[in-house]
């Protein structure tokens, strides 16, 4: 069982599932295109 400590030296915290899901969704929502030998990020949505 995971314990959550509040002592400053001993954290055992985790990000929210929603935060991780947002990150994964962001990764799937963008693509890369080449222009003038450079890569650029574009929004696929």
């Amino acid at each position: 069982m995971q314990k959550n400590y509040t002592d400053k030296q001993n954290f055992v915290l985790n990000p929210k599932k929603e935060t991780i899901q947002k990150i994964l969704n962001y990764s799937k929502s963008i693509g890369v295109i080449k222009h003038n030998d450079n890569n650029f990020i574009i929004d696929l949505n």
Binding site: K8, F11, V12, L13, N14, P15, K16, T19, I20, K22, I23, L24, Y26, S27, K28, I30, V32, I33, H35, N36, D37, N38, N39, F40, I41, I42, D43
Partner: protein
């Protein structure tokens, strides 16, 4: 001994090649360490969530743009990004003065429109950060001319001496830099106005 343990290096390569599940594995493997590192600096859960998210957005963008160099451990790289974002947060916060009005004196009675108010300064700072990010996407020779011209305020004659190319070449690089900047801003749908 764990069997079938896939190294970070292989997961990163797999993600760059298009496997989104590899990113998920990397995050799950290292989330606790990175999250707790951020929290140990800011001591605020909501802020930690934001910085954690921004950290991985930077990671994703760097990997997808092909700008990641496997020179050290993946997690050390991610921690450096998180650390820099924490510093950015503290820098922004230290610039924002906090004023409170009381019944005797209203600070807003002396802050005039011709002074940059806090909100406009924050917006301006954010715009400058976005501009720097976009400039970093340019090819090195174009970035160099642009930085010399706008940040160091050098003439094209001075730029050509520094870079060892003709004035015409410097002018050409500047022209292409500006064209590329416009294209990037348009393609990424960035708004640089307040």
């Amino acid at each position: 001994m764990k069997k079938n343990h896939i190294s970070d290096s292989i997961l990163v390569k797999s993600y760059i090649d298009g496997d989104e599940r590899s990113l998920e594995m990397l995050i799950k493997r290292h989330k606790q360490r990175i999250y707790n590192f951020i929290y140990s600096k800011v001591f605020d859960r909501d802020l930690t969530e934001d910085i954690f998210q921004d950290t991985f957005i930077k990671v994703i963008r760097t990997l997808k743009l092909g700008n990641y160099n496997e020179e050290g451990k993946f997690v050390s790289w991610v921690m450096r990004i998180a650390h820099n974002l924490v510093i950015d947060h503290f820098r922004k916060n230290s610039r924002i003065p906090k004023f409170e009005s009381n019944n005797d004196f209203d600070i807003f009675s002396v802050l005039k429109d011709n002074e940059i108010d806090v909100e406009n300064k924050m917006i301006k700072d954010q715009i400058l950060i976005e501009v720097k990010k976009i400039i970093n996407l340019l090819p090195d020779d174009q970035k160099e001319v642009l930085v010399y011209r706008y940040y160091n305020e050098l003439s094209f004659k001075e730029i050509s001496k520094k870079t060892g190319v003709s004035i015409n070449t410097s002018l050409g690089r500047m022209r292409y830099a500006l064209i590329n900047l416009r294209n990037i801003i348009k393609k990424q749908n960035i708004s640089l106005t307040s």
